[in-house]
């Protein structure tokens, strides 16, 4: 990512402001619309789940400029997701849903450079969460 792209991710996230819960709600709608089979993975209260997701996203966006800090966070987060049986393909669905939700709430402000910056940011997060997950999961017979 370029420094400008990191700034774009942070500034567009800041612009969400009070709409963060709305974005989170839209994200889950998009996610379950794209892949209804993911629905049963979320056994906890969805309201609580949305708050958790917003907190984690906020932390990730905050640490985006400091790679070391970001990686220790995302790797641990990935490791914690191992138990849910999340796979690489699911991350793709999550990424697409997040981009769609951001676009839905930010409207015209979510222009092409902002989208590209988010795609790259999500890619870094997904790759390193998957890395954390792989390290935490015993494999083979």
């Amino acid at each position: 990512m370029t420094p400008e792209q990191i700034t774009l991710v942070q500034s567009s996230f800041e612009r969400l402001g009070a709409d963060l819960p709305a974005m989170t709600a839209l994200f889950y709608q998009e996610l379950f619309r794209r892949d209804p089979s993911l629905r049963p993975l979320f056994t906890t209260d969805m309201a609580e789940q949305r708050v958790k997701f917003a907190q984690k996203l906020t932390e990730i966006v905050r640490t985006m400029p400091r790679l070391g800090e970001l990686l220790s966070y995302t790797r641990a987060l990935g490791a914690r997701h191992v138990g849910y049986g999340v796979r690489a393909a699911d991350y793709q669905t999550v990424g697409d849903s997040l981009i769609a939700a951001l676009a839905g709430v930010l409207g015209e402000e979510f222009n092409a450079p902002t989208r590209e910056a988010w795609v790259l940011a999500f890619n870094i997060v997904a790759e390193t969460m998957l890395e954390g997950a792989a390290a935490a999961r015993p494999i083979g017979s």
């Binding site: 420094p3 400008e4 790679l67 070391g68 690489a88 450079p113 870094i124 790759e127 494999i139």
Partner: protein, 881 residues
């Protein structure tokens, strides 16, 4: 430097296939197909590594020229230790040996399957293949085989696959997004846009090429970390290992195919129609099938599929042969009589590449075309090939400008000075003088020399519009060397309205007007200048059109239209990053830093200024780097990072003085002193810089410096700020004046009003500080309810300030820590001053109290805050912010 382990990116779905196959029990192995360098071996090793981390035994076998001579040579590591049992006829019984091996492996690994990587399967000898096939089929090993696209697939793999016991993965080059992620993780941080683009274009997603390119660029010093951002400061070098890799890929071509590839490497793109007449039938098809060339259907042009291939083929060609091909192609195009400009440039470059005696006219013609495309490297190359005695004034201008753009300022000065001695039209004489002055001003950081060059040119350039342009250019030197007052006087002498003159006048005038406090005129002039420049087109010896947009951002910021300034700067920065205009990139970043400081987003400011520092260092503009380093130190200081601020200032001390925004640069020195708790020094710097600003026409900067003097020391600056507010049309100055007047009068209502003004402008840190003062004033007047409301407001505003640690926010800490036993109004005042490092004697003077009373207040406050010393006080306040 060395890289940490090269991360694996974009291969998680493939790793999941492996994981599943290993766990499924009925799969005997996995085969990874793909082109050279796509990462087959890396993926296979990662699979084995993950298996090993989960307790699987893992082994690696690889074929080579040596082991291929020896049956079972490649798999020697799998064979049992003891003597090989011989059959009854004294010969090796293969089946018995295989079974013996299986049993030994079974015992050694206690029944767990050995994960075996067989790299480059096609290189293994037949016996090794047979053993691996047997062991895989018997479930003694889990086989991971790699096979290069186009190479024969061993029978054993085909058999296993037919039985449905083998998983197959087709590996492809990485996408742009994955290359980006890979670079981010491998380099450990962000990369400048142009550098990322160049690495992508050179590697086209081939991970091995990317790896070698990055390593080579790090080793040669082309890729460097500037303040946390990676920059590419030179061409990507081709390391010898990279050359070897590519040579392997294109080796083994037929003579005809090789000659077509060579032609493309030297002269691509080549028209398909022509290529078909020189290459035998079938050659192009076979090259396309092998993925070595691409044919664009639209325009019928043929190119080599990978840019690296062209470089390697060129490097490996005998000089004489390359020369013959280049000259023949130049003849062909020249004979075609094409009038297309691009063609002329290509002919010139090919002749030069061929080492042919250059025709100066063709070189200059080619250089003009390269100049139009802002390809200054090619301009330099072509013009440096012109023999010195044949370089005329026009040629000197071309070369001198290119040298300036490429950061070779001393060479530029020499070439342009020589050019001025040659006969030239008045127009060329003007452009030589202007370019030489620009180099002296921006490159060499010698404004006096720039003014002398400008003055000397008056003797040669005398006709009306050109002479006026020279006047406008003098104003430009004055504006950007820190004399906006004199620039405006000089601009007043211009009466004509020639288009070029208008453009230069706008460059010089917009910034000078904004500095002087005529911000509405400044914004209008910057906009008009940009429109004029677009109509004029891209001409030599004049600033880049984007500089008008930079000036517009500066003027909007000074006009207090902060949000608008940010928006214009962001879109402008994107455009110049794509076009790679370093000087405009630097100044957009500096202006975004200024905007962020005013918004109170101090961490964001730190990021933009750091980016500007890196860009300025890469492009060697020392003066711009000085301004950027000042901004970086300022942002650090406002975040309370005193050491980092001092470090940025130490780096700045190695850069020559640059007068543009001179008084503003000194904000950094003052704030750094304040952050290091040297308040007397800070106040002295603010005062002297404000005096300099007043003497040179920087009214907006003067108001900024005075206001910050008040913010950090409490000194009364209201009288001068009121004058400035009357002289300037900016609401930013009015708000500063209102704040100062209200602070002097301890007027809670007015302080809250000033906070509202700042908030409306988007200046959240200033708003938070003014609201804090309002709270203190209300509390002093005994109005607790108003005090609480203002405090709450201050705290909410401060939340947007990204960790700013300015003295004006310390009240928030006193409120938080003192919630149990609130400080009295007087105690808070004394504590705030003491926390800046001010001595009791000075506090007493400031508040018209005796030193003893001050000390009494301090003792009471210490007790309430639970500290025992001034140091403890600063810590209690600092840590709570």
């Amino acid at each position: 430097m060395t890289l940490p382990r090269w991360p694996i990116v974009g291969r998680r779905p493939e790793l999941e296939v492996f994981e599943w196959a290993l766990g499924s029990g009925d799969r005997a192995g996995l085969v990874i197909y793909g082109r050279a360098g796509v990462g087959k071996t890396r993926l296979a090793d990662e699979c084995a590594g993950q298996a090993a981390a989960s307790g699987h035994p893992a082994e690696r076998v690889a074929g080579s020229r040596t082991t291929a001579l020896l049956p079972l040579g490649a798999v020697a590591g799998l064979l049992p230790d003891g003597p090989v049992r011989l059959g009854p006829d004294g010969q090796v019984n293969a089946v018995a040996l295989f079974e013996q091996t299986r049993q030994a492996l079974h015992e050694r690994h206690r029944g767990r399957r050995l994960v075996t990587v067989a790299d480059d399967m096609a290189q293994l000898d037949a016996a090794s293949l047979a053993l691996l096939g047997y062991l895989a089929a018997q479930r003694a090993i889990f086989l991971i085989a790699t096979v290069r696209t186009g190479e024969p697939v061993p029978d054993l793999l085909i058999d296993l696959w037919r039985d449905g016991r083998l998983e197959r993965i087709d590996l492809h080059d990485l996408s742009r997004a994955h290359v980006d992620t890979l670079l981010h993780l491998a380099l450990g941080g962000p990369i400048e846009a142009g550098a990322g683009q160049e690495l992508w274009e050179a590697s086209r997603g081939n991970p091995l090429y990317l790896h070698e390119l990055v390593l080579g660029a790090l080793e040669s010093g082309a890729l460097v970390d500037r303040s946390g951002v990676w920059h590419l400061e030179d061409h990507l070098p081709a390391s010898s290992r990279l050359l070897d890799l590519v040579e392997q890929r294109i080796g083994g071509l037929s003579a005809e195919a090789r000659s077509a590839v060579e032609l493309l490497a030297l002269c691509q793109p080549v028209e398909l129609g022509y290529l078909e007449t020189v290459a035998p039938a079938g050659v192009l098809e076979s090259l396309e099938r092998a993925g070595l060339v691409t044919i664009t259907v639209d325009d019928g042009q043929v190119r080599l599929a990978h840019p690296l291939h062209a470089r390697v083929v060129r490097a490996g060609m005998p000089k004489l042969r390359a020369r013959a091909v280049l000259l023949a192609q130049a003849e062909r195009l020249a004979a075609g009589g094409s009038t297309l400009g691009r063609v002329e440039l290509r002919i010139a470059v090919w002749r030069l590449d061929a080492g042919a005696q250059p025709d100066p006219a063709a070189l200059v013609g080619g250089a003009q075309l390269a100049r139009a495309a802002h390809d200054f490297r090619t301009v330099r190359r072509l013009m440096e090939a012109v023999p010195g005695e044949q370089l005329d004034a026009v040629g000197a201008l071309l070369l001198g400008e290119a040298l300036y753009e490429l950061g070779a300022f001393d060479d530029s000065e020499r070439v342009l000075a020589q050019g001025q001695a040659l006969p030239a039209s008045e127009r060329i004489a003007l452009q030589l003088a202007v370019t030489r002055a620009k180099n002296a001003q921006w490159g060499l950081c010698q404004p006096e020399k720039a003014l002398a060059i400008n003055a000397a040119a008056r003797a040669v350039v005398t006709s009306a519009p050109l002479a006026e342009e020279l006047v406008a250019d003098e104003a430009s030197v004055l504006t950007f060397s820190g004399r906006p007052d004199r620039a405006l006087t000089v601009l007043g002498r211009i009466t004509g309205a020639d288009q070029r003159t208008r453009v230069v006048r706008a460059i010089a005038g917009a910034v000078a007007l904004a500095a002087a406090g005529r911000t509405a005129d400044a914004v209008a002039l910057a906009r008009a200048g940009h429109a004029d420049h677009v109509a004029l087109g891209d001409e030599p010896a004049i600033a880049h059109p984007a500089m008008h947009v930079v000036n517009q951002v500066f003027a909007l910021t000074e006009a207090g239209r902060i949000a608008e300034a940010e928006q214009v700067a962001r879109s402008g920065a994107e455009i110049v990053a794509a076009q790679r205009v370093p000087i405009a990139q630097i100044w957009f970043a500096v202006n975004l830093g200024r905007v962020a400081i005013l918004q109170g987003r101090v961490a964001t400011a730190r990021r933009f200024y750091a980016e500007a520092v890196g860009l300025a260092q890469s492009s060697r503009f020392a003066g711009s780097r000085r301004v950027a380093l000042s901004g970086l130190a300022l942002a650090h200081a406002m975040l309370g990072e005193a050491d980092a601020a001092a470090q940025a200032l130490a780096e700045r001390a190695t850069v020559p003085w640059f007068g543009f925004l001179g008084p503003e640069q000194r904000l950094a020195d003052a704030w750094a002193a304040s952050a290091a708790r040297r308040p007397a020094e800070a106040a002295a710097v603010f005062r002297s810089a404000a005096a300099d600003a007043a003497a040179t026409g920087y009214r907006l900067t003067e108001s900024w410096l005075l206001h910050d003097l008040m913010r950090t020391s409490g000194e009364d600056v209201s009288a001068r700020l009121r004058e400035l507010a009357e002289e300037c049309d900016s609401p930013l100055v009015s708000a500063r004046a209102r704040h100062a007047a209200a602070a002097r009068a301890r007027d809670a209502v007015e302080l809250a009003g000033a906070a509202g003004d700042f908030e409306a402008l988007g200046a959240m840190l200033l708003a938070a500080e003014a609201a804090g003062s309002a709270a203190a004033a209300s509390s002093g007047a005994g109005d607790r309810r108003a005090a609480t409301a203002s405090l709450r407001r201050s705290s909410a505003l401060a939340a947007a300030c990204e960790g700013a640690a300015t003295p004006g926010l310390f009240h928030l800490a006193t409120v938080n820590t003192a919630a149990a036993a609130p400080l009295s109004g007087r105690e808070r005042e004394v504590v705030l001053l003491a926390s800046t490092g001010m001595a009791s004697k000075d506090i007493a003077e400031r508040l018209y109290l005796s030193v003893r009373t001050v000390n009494n207040h301090l003792q009471h406050a210490y007790a309430k805050l639970g500290v025992t010393s001034r140091a403890g006080l600063a810590q209690a306040l600092g840590s709570a912010i």
